[in-house]
């Protein structure tokens, strides 16, 4: 589904990703952990096409297409979704209006019929139940006046509505208390399927107690230095990221 090969990326003249490779197959959940400044958020931004991130080397192929050539909206229509670490408040743009515009734009781009407002609302109500979000939030402006937890839940709600093939969760756990974290994880788990893949970017292993990954990768210095199963996350939790530095050569040496 997704193949990242030797990806190098630069932000404001500074090299952040320095040869990152990763392959994600349908239905897999990959966790990417790493210390601050390792390039975790850069990965999500590069994959979703944010401006200001310059890819200097390497390739990203998503379902046979060169992802890096596509505009952000084309990537969305192709099935890539980024749950933002800091969801943006957009005063004056009604949440429901925004969701329908996004949903229909994606359908249009894929050559599918657009939904009218009645059909769309029906769909929204179904998905709201899953995320336990108050319908009242739909009448507000996008993310405006939402609490930290509401913002993150709203991201997962959007994901549920848009049904992407690949979802990238960028530190979705940051700033959440344990109850909100559980709700978010439940929402994500409800969306897991043999066709849908996830890249879960996080600093803490706590989230992975609730969203159990198939693979765990450690990102440091712009590259994946360690890959393993769930136990790698527990080890990191126990020993801290400092352990990595002493650990010498990367790539699955530990068993």
């Amino acid at each position: 589904m997704l193949k990242i090969d030797n990806l190098h990326a630069r932000v404001e003249g500074k090299d952040i990703l320095k040869g990152l490779s990763l392959e994600v197959k349908p239905g897999e959940v990959h966790a990417i952990m790493g210390p601050n400044g390792a390039g975790k958020s850069t990965l999500g931004n590069v994959l979703s096409g944010r401006e200001g991130y310059e890819v200097t080397e390497g390739s990203v192929v998503f379902e046979g297409r060169n992802l890096l050539e596509l505009e952000p909206e084309e990537r969305a229509a192709a099935g890539v979704f980024l749950a933002f670490q800091y969801p943006v408040e957009i005063p004056g743009v009604n949440n429901t209006y925004f969701l329908r515009a996004a949903y229909n734009a994606q359908r249009k781009a894929r050559g599918e019929a657009e939904l009218d407002s009645m059909q769309f609302l029906k769909r929204v109500r179904e998905k709201l139940k899953v995320m336990q979000l108050s319908p009242e939030l739909l009448n507000r402006a996008v993310n405006e006046g939402f609490s930290g937890g509401e913002k993150k839940r709203n991201e997962i709600f959007q994901m549920a509505l848009l049904e992407p093939k690949l979802a990238i969760l960028d530190e979705t756990d940051s700033g959440l208390d344990i109850d909100a974290l559980k709700q978010v994880a439940e929402g994500v788990n409800a969306l897991r399927s043999p066709e849908r893949s996830f890249i879960v970017v996080t600093h803490y292993q706590r989230l992975l107690d609730y969203i159990v990954p198939d693979f765990v990768h450690v990102l440091a210095g712009g590259r994946i230095v360690e890959s393993g199963d769930r136990s790698l996350a527990l080890k990191l939790e126990e020993r801290g990221y400092a352990w990595l530095a002493e650990h010498g050569e990367p790539a699955g040496a530990d068993a």
Binding site: R50, P91, V93, F98, A102
Partner: protein, 434 residues
């Protein structure tokens, strides 16, 4: 003193005959204002009030003084409809009252509404104070012209204690004539004590025409009166429209002005408010959206002259193409206006490298215990918001227009009339590029 060389604009009006009313004071005021205009002509950019709005191009054009066939110009009544706002309407085309397009049958109790031409014919004396004014400032050229040539307009009076919820409409239409004409309208609006009125003022243009219109309006609010005033300016794209609106507020009177400036090649609006009674309140919300080669100039001058007076102004500007926006917001708190509370904000968006907006908030305070705040910004769309929308699949152009419409819509969220608010939103979406 040197007489300035006469521009084509001035020369065309020099020989025009003034309307003869048969009312001595009115004819005299018209003559004096015309003489003042002819002596000084149009102001240049050295006059502070016209610093950012050059009239050089206008001065080189000549306009006929009024449209003799204004009564017969064809206007499609459907073009005048405002969905959700039915009710009494007074319609003027090229400066003349049009009974055939107006509807005055169902006037609510306590409302007096009629054209100025009729009011002058039957009962001119109550209008004497308003219509015999002389405009003495160099920047008041259009007011002088208006005072000299206006022969029609709306005279609207709301009796003490009368409360009218459904909006009344005043429509000012420019329609194609034989060549370009200069037309002028003079309105007098008065709300007696504790009267309440909702008023929709529309400026429309039909067909191809490049007229000059001037509209001069006095709004007088006696103690406790409340005026909800919505202005939709959609003048013809090639026309010039110069408006001046005075508001005089007695004690506890309140004005809520919402103004949307969309049309006109050259559109200028002066809002002049005087809060002369204690605890009077003047609130303005508005947006101007010059695109193409449009020039939109809004000038607010709000004078706090009494204690505990309140004013607030929130304006947004969006310039695209080679559009040029000008905003000046001046607040003056006079000596003795203690306890005044004034705020003014103007945020602007530039959507193209050739677009320009000049904004200038001004604050003068001569009283004590005053709360005042003002600020202005000019910027571009928020890149973070733009990326957020695009990352959800909304194409770039659509995302831009969504954000721009949201920005321009903000001042109208406080517009109480739902149909009117929906109409404003539609107009905004239709106007914006993308």
């Amino acid at each position: 003193m040197n007489q300035p060389a006469r521009t084509p604009f001035v020369a065309a009006l020099a020989d025009a005959s003034l309307p003869a009313s048969g009312i001595a004071w009115l004819d005299r005021a018209r003559r004096e204002n015309l003489d003042a205009f002819l002596a000084a002509g149009l102001p240049d950019t050295r006059v502070e009030a016209w610093k950012y709005t050059a009239l050089r191009a206008l001065a080189q054009r000549s306009f006929a003084a009024g449209d003799a066939q204004a009564a017969d110009r064809v206007v499609d009544p459907a073009a005048l409809a405002l969905p959700g706002v039915e009710g009494p309407a007074l319609v003027f085309v090229n400066g003349a009252f049009r009974a055939d397009l107006s509807s005055l049958d169902a006037l609510p109790e306590g409302i007096g509404l009629r054209p100025l031409s009729q009011a002058l014919a039957s009962e001119p004396e109550p209008l004497r104070f308003a219509l015999s004014r002389h405009y003495r400032e160099a920047g008041e050229a259009f007011a002088r012209l208006n005072a000299a040539f206006a022969r029609d307009g709306a005279v609207l009076r709301v009796a003490a204690g009368a409360r009218v919820a459904a909006p009344l409409r005043l429509l000012f239409v420019g329609a194609p004539a034989d060549g370009d004409v200069a037309w002028h309208l003079r309105n007098v609006v008065e709300l007696e004590e504790d009267a309440e009125l909702s008023l929709v003022e529309q400026h429309l243009g039909t067909g191809e025409q490049a007229h000059l219109g001037t509209v001069l309006t006095d709004h007088t609010l006696h103690a406790g009166a409340i005026l909800r005033h919505a202005v939709l300016q959609q003048a013809g794209a090639a026309s010039s429209l110069v408006r001046r609106s005075h508001y005089r507020l007695d004690a506890r009177a309140q004005v809520y002005l919402h103004a949307l400036e969309l049309g006109g090649g050259l559109a200028r609006h002066d809002v002049w408010a005087e809060l002369v009674g204690d605890a009077a309140a003047f609130h303005t919300r508005g947006a101007f959206l010059p695109g193409g080669r449009q020039h939109a100039d809004t000038q607010l001058a709000i004078h706090h002259r009494a204690r505990d007076t309140v004013s607030s102004s929130l304006w947004r500007g969006v310039a695209s193409g080679r559009g040029r926006g000008v905003f000046r917001g001046a607040i003056v708190v006079n000596a003795g206006a203690d306890g005044a509370d004034a705020s003014l904000g103007n945020k602007n968006l530039l959507l193209s490298p050739q677009a320009e907006i000049d904004t200038k908030p001004e604050l003068e305070i001569y009283a004590d215990e005053v709360k005042a705040a003002h600020g202005a910004t000019v910027g571009q769309l928020d890149e973070r918001a733009l990326f957020y929308l695009r990352s959800r699949g909304i194409p770039g152009a659509q995302a831009r227009s969504l954000l721009t419409a949201a920005f321009a819509r903000a001042p109208f969220e406080s517009l109480e009339h739902e149909a009117l608010r929906a109409h404003v939103e539609q107009l905004l979406l239709a106007q914006l590029p993308g």
